[in-house]
């Protein structure tokens, strides 16, 4: 599944977009966050990390599909 990465999170991961192959058949937003933070420990230093699924904020319980567009949203600072 495609994961977009922005702002401070992009600098932690080192790229703005990557493919993620989940282990097993099912994955929730919360499980994805946990798996990513094991692979990229720098993410834990962010003040917060939200996940957007198909351009909307998603809850931790939300189940992900293979063709969802995921985005990692560090704390926003527009305006």
């Amino acid at each position: 599944m495609k994961i977009l990465v922005f702002g401070a999170a992009r600098e932690v991961i080192g790229k703005g977009e990557f493919e993620w192959i989940p282990i097993g058949n099912e994955l929730t937003v919360g499980e994805l966050k946990h798996a990513l933070s094991l692979e990229y420990p720098g993410l834990k230093k962010l003040k917060s990390l939200s996940i957007a699924v198909n351009e909307e904020y998603a809850s931790e319980e939300r189940r992900l599909d293979r063709d969802d567009v995921i985005a990692l949203i560090p704390p926003v600072s527009g305006g």
């Binding site: 702002g7 351009e55 909307e56 560090p74 926003v76 600072s77 527009g78």
Partner: protein, 141 residues
């Protein structure tokens, strides 16, 4: 998109005269504008410029949602939100919000609500560049 919402992420300087005139009309006498200008300092550091980055399709979606919510809640005629992306220098406007209505009563609360919500949820990120480094501003939450 609600036809009364005018939303844009803009790579070029914002033209205040043009944007404040865009939704003014002889039917809607009251107009409130918020302009957020880039400051040249932050917590004692000299800011040379900002780099704004957006998750563009989602930012447009969120801004439209906020504009529609404000329109309905405060009975606005029209809403305009233009936000800069890319490099923005001190003294330049990073954001311009314009709201209009036949009467003025709720304009100010509407404009405040829009900028408050924008800063909380819209996926736009600001990197401050100083004379001696740079840092992502982690404002909300």
């Amino acid at each position: 998109m609600n036809p009364t919402a005018h939303i844009k992420l803009e790579g070029n300087p914002l033209d205040i005269a043009e944007l404040t005139a865009a939704i003014r009309s002889t039917k809607n006498g009251g107009e409130c504008v918020f302009i957020g200008t880039v400051r040249d300092n932050h917590q004692g550091k000299v800011v040379t410029h900002l780099e704004f980055e957006a998750y563009e399709p989602m930012a447009i979606r969120e801004l439209t949602r906020i504009a529609d919510l404000a329109s309905a809640q405060f009975k606005l005629a029209e809403v305009l939100i233009h936000h800069r992306i890319g490099t923005v220098y001190p003294g330049e406007a990073a954001i311009v919000i314009v709201v209009t209505a036949p009467h003025r009563n709720q304009l100010f609360d509407a404009c405040k609500m829009i900028i408050d919500q924008l800063k909380e949820t819209v996926p736009i990120w600001k990197k401050e560049v100083y004379t001696d480094g740079a840092s992502w501003v982690q404002a909300h939450p």
